[in-house]
Symmetry: C2
């Protein structure tokens, strides 16, 4: 038997998952919570305060994940280190850090440790919005073609806005940085000594494309003179698709992790993207929904199409040989969590407690008894803005149809339905752009927890939904790419299609749309669309004016 280990670096913790290469069986997993967690108020040494919207991390926490979780899973699974043929990494993104020539993060060096810009900027660092705005304006003014690949808007979370903030606010850090790396690539550099940047983060976060490369030197120079040569000076144009082998574990890392230097290391990836084959999907026409606090919608295509409001289209960005499309909804599980924390009366909490179920289960049970349309409610799911289609963080939530008889479970169901309408709107945008979606595949936490929600998504979209068997699609996907990186000669797999056939499974339970419910939902979706356009496309910008008043 041969094994690989997938290591999933999340926002709060890192997790290792050890799986059997032949079957995908998950033998062991281990989690390490980052000691310094998300750093958003003050640097760990306690002396430096951060501004609003900052979000940093400590790269030492990532190294601790490697040292603690990998030995733990090997021990728990009871496998021989020599049989672990590969390691794969998936990471949050865009999560970047400046390093010196030896790959040491600047924040680990005494000269820079008190400079917040020397630390890891986490994906949700939102303090570079001004830089993003200027980048977008310049790109529009210059009619830069790359904008179309990102639905017309570059997010403040991405590579260039974050780097521009460093240049402007801490030029000395920028100067001192030999490279600026995605954390996923930095981990691979640590483990192998090789810088092998992955196509996923390069494409979705650093505006790279296989055809066009990065934004032009002229554009970058116009944005800031110091950016003119950033690609040549601090990045790389050697970009590798998922499943590529970066190298093998160095002795320095094989030893503390309890592995051998024969262990192949795959190039890094992003959680949502590596989840696609973990949900068994390796071909076009099948949309993978990574469903948790938010939803990422991932699709493969054989041609480059421009979908309204997509997060991005990247060749080789998900699987080699395909254009990978990413779209998303900024808040899904987060909305239900908001609801139960703020809007559910004590008698419901008491009932749930008495019956020994959680509040989501109770609400779901009551909501399941409602017929489609029975509540008379309709909502827009923009509690955290609209990510795909409208790409507008200033939009907000709306709910309509309340009467004096409206019950909490009716609102709860309306919120679930609103998020399903949001997904249907995304599917519609894909199909309007010529990217067909025949079937839906789901992974992440929500599909395993809430069958009513899944049935509603099937009924709303009119599409069958299959659910990945794993509850750790990110780590499993990373382990699958590790098996590909190791290759069949080492007992792994030749390519990700074979790996998916062997290692990825679906649950038996399939959610099939009910035609009658789908018909009523199509009526409701028509109402959703009309309000979506009314509030989202400038007919009535009340949401934005309310936001301005708030500030």
């Amino acid at each position: 038997m041969r094994y690989t280990i997938g290591i999933d670096f999340g926002t709060q913790s890192g997790r290792a998952l050890l799986v059997e290469v032949e079957t995908g069986r998950e033998l062991a997993s281990a989690v390490y919570e980052y000691a310094n967690g998300g750093i958003d108020e003050v640097l760990p040494q306690g002396n430096i305060r951060l501004g609003p919207d900052w979000a940093l991390q400590d790269p030492r926490d990532y190294l601790e994940v490697l040292k603690r979780t990998v030995p733990a899973v090997i021990k728990e699974a009871g496998v021989r280190p020599a049989d672990v043929i590969g390691i794969g990494i998936d990471f949050t993104a865009c999560t970047i850090l400046p390093v010196d020539q030896a790959g040491v993060p600047l924040c680990m060096k005494p000269a820079y440790r008190d400079n917040p810009h020397a630390w890891v900027k986490l994906w949700k660092h939102h303090a570079a919005q001004g830089q993003a705005n200027r980048l977008n304006q310049l790109a529009r003014d210059r009619n830069e073609e790359f904008l179309a690949r990102y639905g017309g808007t570059v997010s403040s979370e991405w590579f260039f806005p974050k780097v521009l903030q460093i240049i402007e606010e801490a030029p000395e850090v920028y100067e001192a940085a030999d490279r600026i790396l995605e954390a996923a690539d930095w981990i691979v550099l640590q483990l192998t000594g090789v810088e092998a940047r992955n196509a996923c983060t390069a494409g979705y976060k650093a505006l790279w494309s296989r055809q066009e490369g990065y934004p032009s030197r002229e554009f970058l120079a116009a944005l800031h003179p110091k950016l003119e040569n950033i690609v040549q000076e601090k990045m790389s144009e050697d970009i590798y698709p998922a499943g590529s082998k970066a190298g093998y574990l160095t002795p320095e890392w094989a030893e503390p992790m309890g592995l051998t230097t024969n262990t192949a290391v795959a190039v890094g990836g992003v959680d949502a993207h590596v989840s696609v084959p973990a949900a068994t999907v390796t071909e076009p026409g099948k949309m993978v929904m990574v469903m948790g606090t938010s939803i990422c919608h991932m699709v493969l295509g054989t041609e480059e199409r421009f979908i309204e409001g997509m997060c991005g289209v990247v060749e080789d960005g998900i699987l080699p040989g395909y254009f990978g499309y990413e779209l998303g909804q900024a808040a899904v599980g987060d909305i239900f969590e908001w609801f139960v924390n703020n809007c559910v009366p004590a008698r419901y909490e008491a009932e749930a407690q008495e019956r020994g179920i959680n509040i989501h289960q109770l609400l779901t049970e009551k909501a399941a008894e409602l017929a489609v349309g029975q509540s008379g409610l309709l909502a827009l799911d923009w509690w955290n803005g609209n990510r795909s289609i409208l790409v507008d963080a200033d939009l907000s939530g709306m709910i309509i149809g309340m009467t004096l008889n409206t019950k909490p479970e009716e609102i709860y169901r309306a919120l679930i339905e609103a998020t399903a309408f949001g997904t249907r709107r995304i599917i519609q945008a894909c199909e309007e752009a010529g990217v067909a979606i025949q079937e839906l595949y789901a992974c992440g936490g929500l599909p395993h927890r809430n069958p009513l929600l899944m049935q509603i998504y099937a009924d709303v979209t009119g599409r069958t939904i299959k659910v990945a068997r794993t509850t750790q699609a990110g780590a499993l996907g990373a382990a699958m790419f590790a098996a590909v990186a190791a290759g069949s000669e080492a007992g792994g797999h030749d390519d990700i299609v074979e790996a998916a056939k062997k290692m990825a499974q679906l649950k038996d339970e399939v959610f099939i749309p009910d035609p009658k419910r789908h018909r009523v939902y199509t009526q409701l979706y028509g109402e959703y669309e009309q309000l979506h356009d009314y509030f989202g496309r400038g007919q009535n910008d009340v949401m934005k004016r309310l936001r301005v008043l708030r500030r």
Copy 2:
């Protein structure tokens, strides 16, 4: 010292209030809860089920109020019966019943007691909507002028739809009825032996006007042949303004109530309408808001104007010599009650309990800390439809602007603000029709309970609000009209203006609009108006379509 007693017949109970004629001092009050309450499922004898939307009452409960509460207040106050110079009645309306020639309700006669149509139809009996629709359609087709006096729409709660339902569903009851009376007039008939119908219910509920009388014989015949002679056969054209003396207590009623036959009895009235002088208002330019589960907005005018969506304009309908305007919001306190029953989390209830305050107080305290506009929320206050302006029961509630950080107190405040915007919209309609509103006066339960709400109403409307000192404005108003009915020769008052000067008081606390908050609220009100028209005037009838789907 001389005294009068006001008796306020509400939806759940009746209340007597004994007051000093010279000062309005409230000496004693007593409440009797109706034994049979609201009858909406099955007749009290248990054998007859009612249809949906039915709401009946038992007239014997009204008589019990007289027999129990009047002796109780006389005893509690310790006054001599001979010093009680008058009794006044206010009642819910339109609340009607069929009676025989002797004034006995048909439901009290064995031959009819099993027929639901023989019982009192309570104001909120909504089963005559079909009849109301046909009446409205016919009136529009015939361009009946009376429609304009009722904002263009006759409610299913009013006299003719309810009577038409009796004719159509129980013709034998209609035939057997010698008269069909408002409950207010029936009580006066019981007490005095005199049928003296009051101008308030005749005007606001039975489409009567001092100039035009009732709807024409031709119109009524076209609506239903049996209605052609209803006015002559089962109603009356002798209509008396508030403060008129119907007569004196008969010996049959003086004895059980513990009073003398020298006690004058005023013609009946309606709670909201008799509250106007109880809030000290006896002249135009001052709007009285009767604030509780809903709000009634009452204004006096010297000319007949047609205000959009008003409930009605009736000459002598509130005070003799004035046109009385009534407008309203269908749900106000009811919305806040809905919110605390359905949308407030356990930790808030626990905090309130711990601090020994009620949940409204806790939410109000937290909401008071928010600046205007800080929540970013805006709501439409149509949880029970829109009564005035749009006159559309099929509209529903809406709230916009939610984020993942939205807190319960922010929603609570947005709901209060929405009802204040609704009142501002009503004031605007009055002024657009030439009915000036300089000052606001409030009575009812809410103004005494929630100063934040009152300040928000002042800030939103930009008008000073004075609050009646009494918490029983209906009963006090009835007692004031009783003093007028008794007249100065008996120790009462010559007219209601004098009665108001002596008997009605305001609280010292006045709510004065803050110009800065008013400016921000005017911005928010602009947003409210735009959404009001978008959802309420046919640009997007989604609320109605959602309601159709619900059924």
